[in-house]
Symmetry: C2
Subunit: 394 residues, 2 copies
Amino acid sequence: MNNLLRAAVIGIGNMGSAHAHCIYSGSISGMRLTAVCDLRPERLAWAKQELPGILTFSDYHRLLASGETDAVIISVPHPLHSVIAMEALNAGLHVLSEKPLDIRLSLARKAVETGRNSGKIFAVMLNQRTNPIFQRARELISCGHLGEIKRSVWIITNWYRTQHYYDSGDWRATWKGEGGGVLLNQAPHNLDLWQWICGMPVEITACCDMAHYHHVEVEDDATLLTRYANGATGCFITSTGEYPGTNRLEISGTKGKIVLEDGKLKSWLLKEDEQVVRFSSGQSSPDIPLDYSEWKPDAEPSAHAGILQNFTDAILNGAVLLSPAEDGLNELALSNAAYLSAWQGSIPVKFPMDEKQFDRLLDERQATSRGPLIPTVSNHEIDGKYSDRWQVKW
Amino acid sequence: MNNLLRAAVIGIGNMGSAHAHCIYSGSISGMRLTAVCDLRPERLAWAKQELPGILTFSDYHRLLASGETDAVIISVPHPLHSVIAMEALNAGLHVLSEKPLDIRLSLARKAVETGRNSGKIFAVMLNQRTNPIFQRARELISCGHLGEIKRSVWIITNWYRTQHYYDSGDWRATWKGEGGGVLLNQAPHNLDLWQWICGMPVEITACCDMAHYHHVEVEDDATLLTRYANGATGCFITSTGEYPGTNRLEISGTKGKIVLEDGKLKSWLLKEDEQVVRFSSGQSSPDIPLDYSEWKPDAEPSAHAGILQNFTDAILNGAVLLSPAEDGLNELALSNAAYLSAWQGSIPVKFPMDEKQFDRLLDERQATSRGPLIPTVSNHEIDGKYSDRWQVKW
């Protein structure tokens, strides 16, 4: 491998055009944009105009076989992520896929296996992992400062969207075209961070309300209850229909509590483990001494560019991947399991979940879905810039 | 009715002694303490010492028949509340019962019917209703300032208790002696305020973890998911095992959001109904103009004394009851339904719930309960003062 990684972006719509622009502008050290690929002629025309000197492809198979790239960034509709990733990995290319890895855990798992066998780097765009506030929360827990986790509650309801948003593409919010609603499109970042910080649960029970606020096929409101191996409980609440929403993550442990809110990490760290006090105190409801502090990151998260850089560094210099594709299986398992629970009357679903049953139930929904697999209508203008709405909102 | 109401307190343990002391000291205008009743000689000795001139009874039947009182305040173990209330009402007395009205909705309902037929005043000690912050939240919603409710989430996990607390009486935290755990003992205030502010749900699904943190029979951790007639959802999370806990109620509506936290009511009131924006905006994720404000009550809530005064005023002057016994049925319905859901594997339970099924399942638990119906061990000192821990904690 030489010291310049040749990269191509497959799908240059809203996000893909921004990735292409970012790489093309030289923002990613060691990565050079050589090609883009899209089905839509107007987007390729945009690329020729905005990204002079870059090869354009309308067929991704031809791009993969062209020898013009070492790595691909996949930014196509979700149901095509894993299929294209597998082809690219089998063609000997490194792959960075947009989130989610796929809409089906079964297919994403195959893609991850393909990646493992290929020896290539396979990452997923979980860009909120670059946020120092979530990194610090994770560290507090992994280093034991919070003790054993008792409960986590994430109210993440500030993903507000209008009907105009859903009408902006005919694939949107359909089982066939997009494969899910708020859990699959807006909240994957939060589902990922939740499990990244608190670990994966052993069981999930979910209420997913379809078309609760909007004229859509999929869920735009969801509440997940989770149970962890140590008996801890979790609650995850999200919607695209509340305004102003909330973004508040609370994690309670045997040694205190943290709350991530308003861009701050607030921590209450006990001077003595609560479990000791619980069984030794002679008072009914004692005050346990604690240290309270608030912490706010100095720097902005590096976001998408940070993930692109880390992906490049992993390939060129062996850096540890911040968001390996394998990790993307976890957040997808959470949303797939939530659907499986909700579709069967909010029954508890244990992990590992029945992926075949999920695929059958999704097949049923896709069979009557009005959405096209490949978008035929898209009103989103491409501007090649990272939009504010992809950043963490508090 | 003359202008001085003669009152007696039945059960002068922890709370009852405080009620007796409060009335005796003349704090309740129009109410005079004439008698107390308790099974335990040491408590009656305390009363003779601390409340000179007051009659003492060891048998409540004799008190009810004595002609020495117009009203009784019932502060005995929960499973005896409704039984004694019915006898008192049938004896022609007004009744103020400690919360919960009973441990069984079926029995509490009979007591409320008895009250209705008696023509007497029957109230329940839902003292947190006197808190101006909850009154204001209720008013904001009932006056339509928040529009139609979409969701409510109450994290009320600051009811921390040690094992010492549970060991302080042998009836505590047993199915027979106390009849339930955190939902029946600590959180009834919050369950009541929740339904008082947001209305009653049509369905409830609950996880109630028995002996999760303590050596007890009953639940010390609970999560309730509720569904309302308009499709709104609710979530209620409580425990006695987290430190420091949280007391945060968030209610989201079509016209904004309120959050009750840190003793403040924060409100975000939209200048335009979100539903209008949702279907008319040409933006995907618009900023909707709103007014933000914070409000903190000037005065302390009148708490128990406020309920005693209101009870007195209702009897003497026809004042509207702030906490009629009938209202106490609602919070009890919530906790009974939560148990019914949890005991059957967290299945959804619709209202009106199957009270007979609940009674059967509670009977099973009581049959093997180690708790006595009447306390035989009680380490709580009686001091006749309202303890801080009965006030709202933030």
